[in-house]
């Protein structure tokens, strides 16, 4: 099972070419009638399965598939509307095409075609296999033997089948649909079934990235704030978490696990609870303002969520409440691993605590946790919960399209989807977020040992 060993088998090269060059009549016939070669060699069950797949595929294509593909190109031509009914003598509502469903069926059809092509190739492969076995005079495995192989050499396929179906149905298919929607004008003015939407190419990206429209004027400030937010949220949490971990790790501090548990509480509580509570506490009449007033520190309530700058600072500060303990939890183990000699040598040389922190602790921790830092940065770009639950993106402004001053790209995406039903813009923004995350992660993840040395410990 060595990694470098490439098994030379019929897996390599194109099966189709092989069948055409070396296949016998039965194998060639399998190209048209799937499972023919298997049936010929008494692999009845396998052959019948292949045949059944082909029959149902043809039935599907004739019944709906061809139409689905055709409709996917046009996305519907018939708008729903009032048509004069001769028999009744009045106008009746005629069902039009539903672009949304047409696109969905089209995507589904493409998936089914792909699946069929894979099945067809498997059929050819199997045909060549039985042919070769017969040529060598070896017994052809029956269905039971085949099943046994799927519990052993091909166990990977058995294990992956169900998870892959799940991922295909609930991740890949919806994602493919939404990615395609980014190239249509599926916005709130083109909502099926009342209206049709159609392909418009890259126009949405032009609208978002250009500065001509309100959407463009919304995108750039939100992108800037998303980056600023991700930067501050990541680095303040990081520094704060390390300092807190150092504080708790001090040799003279007793009850370490008690302190740690107190801070871990803030991660352990579901975020919707703690964030919703924080939002209430920071309202004009909320607990924080009440406390500050009763101490005589302020006269007027502080506008935590109504002033843009206040709101931005508030989300960053509240995020510290969740994020600092998180970093503390993750890094305390790492901090304990810093070789003690480094500190001893430094203190003999007369370094004080601040210098040691800057010159020893930080470089060491940063070196070890760079991948974690990047994951956090990408995570913060997509930090939906904290913004949605705390400020709801507000304070709202008329300068932006469907967004407020603290909205991140993801919360804007959410609002465009749920509030204004501008699915095409939402999808285009999703793709832009993907590009940002992908660039950030690919740059770092591929350099980590978790990716490159996955067999280091085996």
């Amino acid at each position: 099972m060595g990694k470098g060993k490439k098994k030379k088998s019929i897996n390599d090269g194109s099966v189709v070419v092989q069948v055409i060059q070396k296949g016998d009549v039965w194998a060639k016939l399998s190209m048209v009638i799937m499972g023919f070669a298997n049936l010929r060699r008494k692999q009845i069950v396998k052959g019948l399965i292949f045949l059944l797949i082909e029959a149902s595929f043809i039935y599907y294509m004739v019944q709906t598939g061809v139409n689905a593909l055709k409709n996917m190109i046009t996305l519907g031509t018939q708008t729903q509307g009032w048509v004069y009914d001769e028999e009744l003598g009045i106008d009746v509502l005629a069902q039009g095409d539903n672009s949304m469903l047409l696109l969905l069926y089209g995507v589904l059809c493409l998936f089914i075609i792909t699946a069929f092509v894979l099945a067809w190739r498997a059929n050819l492969k199997s045909a060549m296999e039985v042919q070769m076995l017969e040529a060598k005079g070896r017994p052809v495995p029956g269905f039971i033997d085949d099943v046994k192989i799927y519990m052993d050499q091909k166990f990977n396929r058995t294990l992956l089948t169900l998870p892959m179906i799940g991922v295909l149905a609930f991740t890949v298919l919806p994602l493919a649909y939404m990615i395609l929607a980014a190239f249509t004008n599926y916005d709130n003015a083109h909502q099926p079934p009342g209206n049709l939407f159609t392909w418009i190419g890259l126009d949405n990206f032009g609208t978002i990235l250009g500065s001509g429209s309100t959407i463009g004027k919304t995108f750039w400030p939100i992108l800037a704030w998303t980056i600023i937010w991700a930067f501050f949220a990541t680095f303040l949490n990081y520094i704060g978490g390390i300092l807190l971990a150092l504080l708790i790790n001090r040799k003279s501090v007793k009850f370490k696990s008690l302190w740690r548990t107190i801070f871990v509480m803030s991660i352990a509580i579901p975020s919707f609870v703690s964030l919703l509570v924080m939002r209430t506490m920071l309202q004009p009449d909320g607990a924080v303002n009440v406390l500050l007033k009763s101490w005589g520190l302020i006269e007027e309530s502080l506008p935590f969520w109504t002033n843009a700058t206040f709101a931005r600072v508030s989300v960053i500060v509240v995020n510290l409440w969740v994020g600092v303990p998180y970093t503390m939890l993750i890094t305390s183990g790492i901090l304990l691993n810093i070789p003690e000699e480094l500190f001893e040598a430094a203190s003999i040389d007369g370094a004080n605590a601040a210098v040691m922190f800057r010159k020893i602790t930080m470089p060491y921790v940063v070196f070890v946790t760079t991948p974690y830092l990047i994951t956090q940065f990408v995570g913060n770009i997509n930090n939906f919960n904290i913004i949605y639950l705390l400020s709801g993106g507000g304070p709202s402004t008329l300068d932006y399209y469907q967004a407020g001053k603290t909205d991140l790209l993801v919360t804007w995406l959410y609002k465009l989807t749920v509030n204004s039903k501008d699915y095409c813009y939402a999808s285009a923004i999703g793709i832009i977020i993907f590009v940002i995350s992908a660039v950030a992660s690919l740059l770092t993840y591929r350099k980590t040992s978790a990716y490159n040395n996955e067999e280091a410990f085996q």
Binding site: T261, I262, A268, L413
Partner: protein, 286 residues
């Protein structure tokens, strides 16, 4: 002599300073938690009061929350969430273990491509596909049902295999090879050798997937719409904060928050060791 004394005084000052810092920080960190617990026992209704400490305390908020079913069905929601969490946790755990075992222990042509695809899929924001998922569920005719929630929470679970794969990567491969020589099948290796050795990562996977449904309210609200009967706890509590309910129900909301948070926080705190291993094992190795 003098120097050591000044040093020890210096050290004591530092110790005192660190305790003071820890106590102040602990207070800051505990105030919101303390406030919500206090609000859950407050007798006066309403979301805001012009004072910090409640005037009188009561347990009626809890009693009403659990027994009064005119507007909100907390017990039912709790049951729903528990049911969904158990089902999706079983399915997700199986998916994650199956995929991570395959990716870590077996070698096949599509392995690296599949891993890269999984990573790419993970970079799309999850909310992007929300609406399409909704229409797919609608096409299957199961929107507004608990089954739909289970499918959404566990369907894509197979993509989250990186942490568990990182764990399997650390198990010695010699074990598998020895078993193969002794004639064991891959199925037997998986069930008899790998799984028994993987307690930490199984605990981690089970707990993270069990906690998911308790926290999510976005997918739940898109799928459930107005079907109150099938709400989950998070969604129901979120509903209580809507304008028409917030004044009458805020204290009950707080009580609900406390009731949900206790088991979840207890689970998290007890599993934090596994959690740290899980997170840092995959990401922090450098």
């Amino acid at each position: 002599m003098n120097k050591t004394r000044s040093m020890s005084r210096h050290k004591r000052m530092k110790d005192i300073a660190s305790y003071v810092a820890l106590i102040v920080l602990s207070i800051i960190w505990l105030v919101p938690i303390f406030w919500v617990v206090m609000t859950s026992f407050r007798e006066e209704p309403g979301s805001y009061t012009s004072y910090f400490f409640p005037k009188s305390l009561t347990i009626n908020n809890y009693v009403n929350l659990l027994t009064d079913n005119t507007q909100f069905y907390f017990m039912k929601w709790f049951g729903n969430t528990f049911f969904v969490a158990v089902c999706s946790c079983v399915i997700s755990t199986f998916f994650v273990l199956a995929v991570s075992y395959t990716m870590s222990r077996m070698r096949f042509k599509m392995r690296k491509p599949l891993m890269n695809i999984a990573m790419i899929l993970g970079m799309f924001p999850g909310f992007m596909s929300m609406i399409a998922v909704y229409y797919i569920l609608k096409g299957l005719g199961i929107t507004q049902s608990l089954l739909a929630l289970i499918m959404v929470y566990s369907g894509g679970a197979g993509l989250g295999f990186f942490v568990a794969k990182g764990f399997f990567d650390t198990l010695p491969k010699a074990l598998d090879e020895a078993a193969l020589i002794d004639g064991a099948t891959r199925l037997q290796i998986f069930t008899k050798i790998t799984i028994p050795l993987s307690k930490p990562i199984i605990v981690y996977t089970v707990l993270t997937s069990f906690l998911g449904p308790w926290m999510d309210f976005i997918f739940a609200s898109v799928i459930m719409g107005d079907n109150y009967d099938n709400y989950t706890v998070a969604l129901g509590l979120f509903k209580m904060l809507e304008r028409e309910f917030i004044n009458d129900y805020y204290t009950q909301f707080a009580a609900g928050c406390v009731l949900v948070s206790i088991p979840i926080a207890a689970l998290f705190i007890s599993m934090q060791k596994y959690y740290v291993e899980g997170v840092s094992g995959g990401a922090v190795k450098g």
